[in-house]
Amino acid sequence: MTERTARLRPWYLLSPALATITFLLVIPTCFILVYSFWLRTATGADQAGFYLSNWKEVLSDPFYRDILFSTLRIAAITTVICALTGYLPAYFIAMSESRHKSLMLLLVMLPFWISYIIRTMSWINILGTTGALNTLLIDLGIIDQPLSLLYNEPAVILGLVNFLLPFMVLNVYVSLEAIDRNLLDASRSLGASELQSFREVTLPLSLPGLAAGGLLCFVLSAGTYITPVILGGPRNAMFANLVFEAIITQLNWPLGSVLSILLLIVLGAIVILYNRLVGIGQFAKTFG
């Protein structure tokens, strides 16, 4: 094989993936970018051209900024909750010497078999005024009036955690599973207690999984649209709901495009920053 073909080989192998990404992601995104500079006229028709008025409107109106910030806040809270509650089951499964390990993993993935929308809607039956929880509390005589547990931010976060937890568990599990058990034996033999070994060896070596799971949870929850629609109230709209509103309800493609691109830029910047700080790539090299 000549040096030239050797050099080109990775590109041949990557070409199907590159083609798919180009046609399904890059080109549509470019269209959206172009749309964002068009103008929506009073008649409701879009006028092609290069107008900055949509951008000016979105960037100057505090309405959009507030919703962007609350979206990022919800995503961050969801991520932290997923990390805290997902680590434990991942640790338990990875360290288990049970023969039923793969069954346990299957159970983690079980929710994926049910539509995300149905899973989200099922919370209405649990948290609604006549839902399971309120009925139970009233029957037990703990409360007289049903609590309003739905259509607020905690309900949205609950729905998101419910949706995203398996992603966190699986990511953390994979990195825990990859840890050489001899490292823990070595650490123990050198004098570290079980807890100290966890802090010094297990936790740092599982950080890449935690970081990857965290990023996934953050990006997916920041871009979510269904959960706030089903479980949130009128004031719990997230950024993707604005895009839906602009494009589908108002048929305002230029505005919707601006909002989409803005979310893309913000999330992209966060991913890059996060990568710098946590160094996902750096961690990958540690084990390379």
Binding site: D185, S189, L190, S193
Partner: protein
Amino acid sequence: MTTPTHSVELSGIVKRFGDFTAVERMDLSIEEGSFVTLLGPSGCGKTTTLRMIAGLLDPSEGDIRIRGRSVTAIPIHKRNLGLVFQNYALFPHKTIYDNVAFGLKYRDIPKSEIAGKVQRALDLVQLPDVGSRHPRQLSGGQQQRIALARAIVIEPDVLLLDEPLSALDANLREDMRVELKRIQAQLGITTIFVTHDQSEALAMSDTIVVMSNGHVEQVGGPEDVYVNPTSAFVARFLGNSNLLPARVGAREGDVVPVTVDGFGTIRLPASRCTAVGQSDRATLVVRSENLRLAGDDAPVPGDALALPADVTTVDYQGQAARYFVRIGDKTLQAVNAIEMHPHRQGARVKAIIRGRDCTLVPEERH
């Protein structure tokens, strides 16, 4: 009570995994400062034994004492043992310095002394300048030296090594053998070394514990187990031996006449027959280097048995040759130094077995 010269004592140690007994009724006393090797084929329970001493496995029965104190109820991190693994097991996310300093953090050692101790350990393994690197930036041999430094820097009561050299290539393994022995002797640290490589065991040990199927076959110095095997298993496992079924005659003073089936009678010094009691049947062990092949006209010493033999295969090795010879209906192996020319294939030679070169062991159970 226990004598203080014994560093490690196993009494009646048993380890069962479900129905399977990995180690059965093991008794062993290890002297302070000695280098003891657990030697045996794969699956004989060496690692299991070592892990029980380390505290990584609980024995099903029996007691383990280290420096006179029973440790079976003491958790691993309080046992003060140095552990070295086949795959090095260095912490990949820590620098070499932090790896070596790891165990010192959990001991009452003033911070100011840690750096000095780490440096002395790195000097001892002859890698003084790698402290700031990460494990992945070192070669396999270097990583194993660091693993050793990490284990000895805590001044453990016992150093436990599980096949520490078997991931290294042949040349490096020889170097590391010498190195490890030097460090062990210099520190005078009691060492238990696990291997299935007999040459490693013979070269390094003060005492070899030969194991098979979860029990101890023989304990002794390298020369002892090599020259005086007490069982057919040990004779077969260490070096290269011919095992000949034989009948034991009545002892005549210091001599025991042994009749090898089909070969005739050979007279052994009684000191070579201690492994066999009053039994009638036994197995005669003739090391392949003690089966001498000579020309037809060579003189035969008085205590020797001389048998006509046909050379079937010659395996030329430079200074020596390995021969397969047919004597009667048996094929035997001989390794002889070459004086002038090796014997030729097909040649008729005289196979000479001297009584004092042989060992009698109990008949093999089949």
